[in-house]
Symmetry: C2
Subunit: 437 residues, 2 copies
């Protein structure tokens, strides 16, 4: 290795590769958008690099991947909490969302990108309205994103007839198909807001373009009861019967699932997005994640939107994910730190169909890399890397972030966005929202 565009030196390299290789005093070399080499520092002593970042004995690791969020909901963060789901949705969220437009969604998504970069996330999967605005925001921030326009049985603020939702989705796929950062997914909201023909059509579109199909499913027992009344089966069985389960499907939440549902998810190689903090805050329940993982299902971690969280910090989500299943099963050995970190990196990438692209530090993959500053009181001393990352660290400990080979944050300074302007713009939207309640 004698030349690189970017060389990150002098850190503990936590690769999260298949062997979970850790290099005690290592470096990562990047050419263009890709990782080209990883090894002990000495290996790079003759390497001339256009830019060198000193990790200062911190942790060099893959950026975290948020498998489910609604980025632009930053505009409504804390608008309504501690309420029953239907009060929350009907009295606050839906009325607020009715006034959204392309610009507001873009502004909210920019704020989410800033928050995510500042807390170590380098890639996120989004479901919302005006998703082209989210893609543009991610591009502006330099973030990797999977975006998809939400499809319902009824018109949305961003399109009129159901038909137009499909046109919107297909145009989005075509527009972004060669983009290095953006992947487009097809995203029907849920089995309770989407009729079977909408779901199968969405599935067909996903298959035709080989893009992810993302849906909320089995989020609450109430949803399960509703679907049972309509179709006489569980939501997962319903999706199976109409032919929607597939390896391209990312099923978000999967809180209220039966043993049979889990078997079906596993047999179709469906991926699952686990959103523990949102499921706790909305009192939805606790997804049987250890059981799903034992069944061989690939589970990625996600924060959900920040109206039901109320931050989108994946480090805090990892901590909760590790703890909630321990107390739920009364077994402190389940969901160990290593498993949870995998769920936020390698497995999250796989859940989004991006395992060839990101999720671990491996030569050939895109350079999505974060550096953690561990020289802090709450990270002292250090006995175990994985324990520290999951149980002790927070997003604020991320010092530097590289996405697709571009340094997007250095020494906690965002380099891609004018964050003061973004915050001012969101505050303006919030003032308008407040005046409506």
């Amino acid at each position: 290795m004698n030349k690189a565009d970017l060389l990150i030196t002098n850190g503990i390299v936590v690769t999260m590769d298949r062997n979970e290789t850790v290099i005690a005093n290592g470096a990562v070399a990047v050419c263009g958008d890709r990782i080209v080499d990883i090894g002990p520092n000495e290996k790079f002593s003759d390497c001339r690099a256009a830019k060198v970042v000193d990790a200062k004995n911190g942790i060099i690791m893959p950026g975290l991947i948020n498998t489910h969020t609604h980025a632009a909901m930053t505009c409504f963060r804390g608008l309504a909490d501690d309420l029953h789901l239907m009060t929350w949705l009907n009295d606050y969220i839906f009325p607020a969302e009715a006034k959204l437009n392309y610009e507001k969604v873009k502004t909210g998504a920019l704020l989410a990108c800033a928050e995510m970069i500042l807390s170590g996330t380098t890639c996120f999967a989004d479901m919302y309205l005006f998703e082209d605005a989210v893609a543009e925001a991610a591009k502006a921030a330099g973030m990797r994103a999977v975006v998809g326009e939400v499809l319902y049985n009824f018109p949305s603020p961003s399109y009129g007839a159901i038909e137009e939702g499909f046109v919107y989705s297909e145009n989005l796929i075509k527009k972004w198909k060669s983009d290095p950062l953006i992947t487009v997914a097809v995203e029907p909201h849920s089995p309770y807001l989407c009729a079977p023909d909408l779901l199968t059509r969405a599935s067909d579109l996903s298959n035709a373009y080989e893009v992810p199909l993302i849906i909320h499913v089995a989020e609450t027992q109430i949803e399960v009861n509703t679907i049972f009344e309509s179709y006489g089966k569980t939501p997962i069985a319903h999706l199976a019967d109409i032919g929607v389960l597939s390896p391209l499907l990312l099923a978000c939440h999967c809180v209220a699932v039966t043993d049979k549902d889990i078997e079906q998810l596993a047999s179709y190689d469906v991926k699952v997005s686990h959103n523990p903090e949102s499921n706790m805050k909305l009192a939805s329940g606790i997804a049987p994640v250890p059981q799903m993982m034992n069944a061989g299902i690939c589970v990625g971690l996600g924060t959900d939107g920040c109206t039901s969280n109320n931050n989108i910090d994946m480090f805090l989500e990892m901590d909760t994910a590790a703890k909630i299943h321990k107390v739920n099963t009364l077994d402190p050995t389940v969901m160990d730190a290593n498993t949870v970190l995998k769920m936020a990196t390698r497995d999250a990438a796989k859940a989004l169909g991006l395992d060839g692209v990101t999720g671990s530090l491996v030569p050939g993959k895109k350079a999505d890399i974060i550096i953690i500053d561990i020289n802090k009181p709450h990270l002292t001393p250090m006995y175990n890397l994985y324990s520290h990352l999951v149980y002790a660290a927070g997003g604020n400990d991320v010092d530097t972030s590289v996405i697709n080979g571009q340094v997007v944050m250095e020494n906690r300074q965002l380099l891609t966005l004018d964050i003061e302007k973004v915050m001012a713009d969101v505050n303006e939207i919030a003032a308008e929202v407040k005046s409506g309640f």
Copy 2:
């Protein structure tokens, strides 16, 4: 108001007083160690203050109070995780603790104080070995603390015979009785490690000096079963029958309690310390806190030691406390943000017998005040103060901290401790611990 030692201006004052008064653009004046006045900024326009701190439109609020921790366990943070309780204790924690001494406990406690101040805690209740060292560390850091030497049925690393533990405790009470920051408590470990006569004697000592009595109790169902085998009753009923329940008692954990236990705790006005993250991580269970609060029990929040957490950030603990009971009861309206914030401030002070001293911003109380910087992406926009503090903020958002009238942190710079030295000292202890495993 025309003179003050310290004037904190230009913030949203969240008093957490009985009326939960909030002053939109307010200030707090401090003379010596006490709050002397609170009001709108204009009220203080003629006030000459020796020091003025501009809150820059942030939140001015009472410092958080951690009702249960083992500060010096910072030395073992992340030493062992994801293990069964007995493996964790017998194979890791107890062998590591056997090598502790006064100096090491002081060093570990200094690190904990740094971490707590940096995350907005101004007062903590500690239970550990060599507690005089913890008191000295708290004094050096400028923190308010309730300290107590742990009492067991067997010798501890800091004293020989059981008798000596009582001598240690009584000496500690006498040494610190006039100190403005330190309160000493009597702290028998638990009903399963303390015989009835030790417990009643501890209770007598607490009553004689009118100091808090602090104990771990009903932490797990296993403990309940053990006590039932020995005494034929629940741990709470056992404590009631030997006369140990009293308003001076702070019962930590109370995870595995019956309806009858809750009635007894309420009827004796026993206080409870709730430690949700530790209870989750150790798979102990979920304390029925909403039920205890409905019964009128005063519940304060705590982190427990950082070996079972693994940080001691009360902001993160508040977030978890608010969420875990929602999902446990499947009711999103329980443990609303306001209730949880009270549990970490006013009620926590009451739980420690310090309600006349700290826990809210009220003229006459000691000046234990923190300032939250809300000009951050993850705290934008703001619709609801309480929601933000509980669900969105983290300890890192605390900008400035005042304890007993002394500014101990300003613009995130610790003013009382040489934090680099403390971290280096703890790393040295950790190196020794590692060599022992």
